[in-house]
């Protein structure tokens, strides 16, 4: 939806109004086994103790699309394109139903995985980065993105210590390797390579996820306190304005 100039003005005015505690979006990214979820939980508890109203959103969790993806994953019926498009739909629905309403209300949103997960996994599956990135337009950039960096060996060791990776997590749809653990090792190496490129391109804050949990948590707190003062990114104006127009035109909110 091409946003009207009135919607763009309203978006900018809302997020740049002086004196308001504006909504903040913080994304936690990284491969499986990098400890994101542990850090996300610690971070949320700390933010709440600091008086923030926190909303969490997880990858592939929209009430509308998640069941569709789940049923197809269970029968291993997804091609890389279908996998990518369905996760893109899930993400879009959460942006419209969860993330933007919370940001508009001045809340702090923690995204346990963001669109970079889609980019890294889809490109590792052989899809074109430009095609995938444009699926996510209009882009919504987080205020801060923490990238939890681990080696493929560490990721593999941590994931396989407690369970066997599932078919798509192990990338068995593209590696054609029967053993899920071996497939995971091959696939996660590709995913991490893509993540590392994305971390550079999109200026993510890299956290050495091989450090202790406590060290990582204190680093995240410090970087958040420094980063939260950043001005609102005008790159987000289109995404907010499109959502505002939808909200004004119709129901659903």
């Amino acid at each position: 939806m091409r946003p009207t100039s009135a919607a763009l003005r309203a978006a900018r005015a809302h997020f740049t109004a002086p004196g308001n505690r504006r909504g903040l979006l913080v994304a936690f990214e990284g491969p499986d086994g990098s400890g994101k979820t542990t850090q996300r939980k610690l971070f949320k508890t700390w933010l709440q103790s600091e008086g923030y109203d926190v909303v969490t959103t997880k990858w592939n969790s929209s009430d509308l699309i998640k069941p569709i993806i789940k049923s197809r994953k269970s029968v291993r019926a997804l091609s890389p394109e279908e996998f990518s498009l369905l996760h893109g739909a899930d993400f879009r629905h959460r942006v419209e139903q969860v993330i933007l309403p919370a940001l508009w209300a001045g809340k702090l949103v923690i995204a346990d995985r963001f669109l970079f997960t889609g980019l890294a996994r889809d490109v590792a599956r052989g899809l074109d980065l430009d095609w995938v990135l444009k699926l996510y337009e209009p882009l919504l950039w987080p205020d801060l993105v923490f990238y939890f960096a681990v080696s493929p060996a560490t990721s593999g060791r941590r994931v396989t210590a407690t369970r066997t990776p599932n078919f798509y997590e192990a990338g068995q749809d593209v590696t054609q390797v029967d053993d899920p653990v071996e497939s995971y090792q091959r696939f996660i190496a590709r995913v991490i390579r893509e993540y590392e490129s994305l971390a550079l391109i999109f200026n993510m804050i890299t956290v050495d996820a091989e450090q202790s949990i406590g060290e990582q948590h204190h680093l995240i707190r410090r970087l958040f306190l420094e980063g939260r003062q950043r001005p609102w990114s005008d790159w987000n104006a289109d995404a907010v304005a499109e959502w505002l127009q939808q909200a004004r035109n119709g129901a659903g909110r």
Partner: protein, 178 residues
């Protein structure tokens, strides 16, 4: 000595687009001719929209962008399981609807044409494109992607808004047919 070459069947992808699903299907059957020649690939072969139809209302109404991402996922399924295998066997496939219906719907919803073009970049070009401009009463446009989507869009609440979406989609398809 001359040898008679085996007749190689001619593979062809025919796209039939329009807002009226029943009229699109009728035209697809006419375009195919003899059923032995090939088959028809229809909307929602993957069942994505069927599942969406039974989703709990509390999940929230989808936007046009979300519906189009789902349309593209369904089309990727149709290409993988119906269209490409049939073409590889030298058969004719009628895709009814194909890309144009979704593009017109997206444009009627105000989405950027560049985004729509990128979305369907994976779909091969049809050798023949047919457009169905149905004279049916607009209110009866209930089935198919356009009817389904207009009934579920977050941004379409009134009958007037629904008619406007159907009309605009139909008008954009007429323009593409020129």
């Amino acid at each position: 000595m001359t040898t008679k070459k085996a007749r190689v069947p001619k593979a062809e992808l025919i796209a039939v687009d329009g807002v009226d699903a029943a009229a699109v299907l009728a035209d697809a059957r006419a375009a195919l001719g003899a059923p032995a020649r090939g088959g028809i690939s229809r909307w929602d072969a993957s069942g994505v929209f069927q599942e969406l139809a039974v989703a709990d209302e509390t999940a929230g109404a989808p936007s046009a962008r979300t519906l189009l991402l789902l349309y593209a996922a369904d089309l990727a399924f149709r290409l993988r399981w119906q269209i490409r295998p049939a073409l590889a066997e030298g058969r004719t496939v009628v895709a009814a609807p194909y890309v144009e219906t979704a593009m017109a719907f997206g444009r009627a919803a105000g989405l950027d044409p560049k985004w729509l073009t990128n979305l369907f970049r994976f779909a091969p070009r049809a050798r023949t494109r047919r457009f169905v401009h149905s004279p049916r009463v607009r209110r009866k446009i209930k089935d198919g992607f356009v009817g389904f989507s207009c009934d579920r869009l977050a941004a379409v609440r009134t009958k007037q808004e629904r008619l406007r979406m159907v009309d605009q989609t139909a008008a954009l398809l007429r323009r593409r047919d020129r």
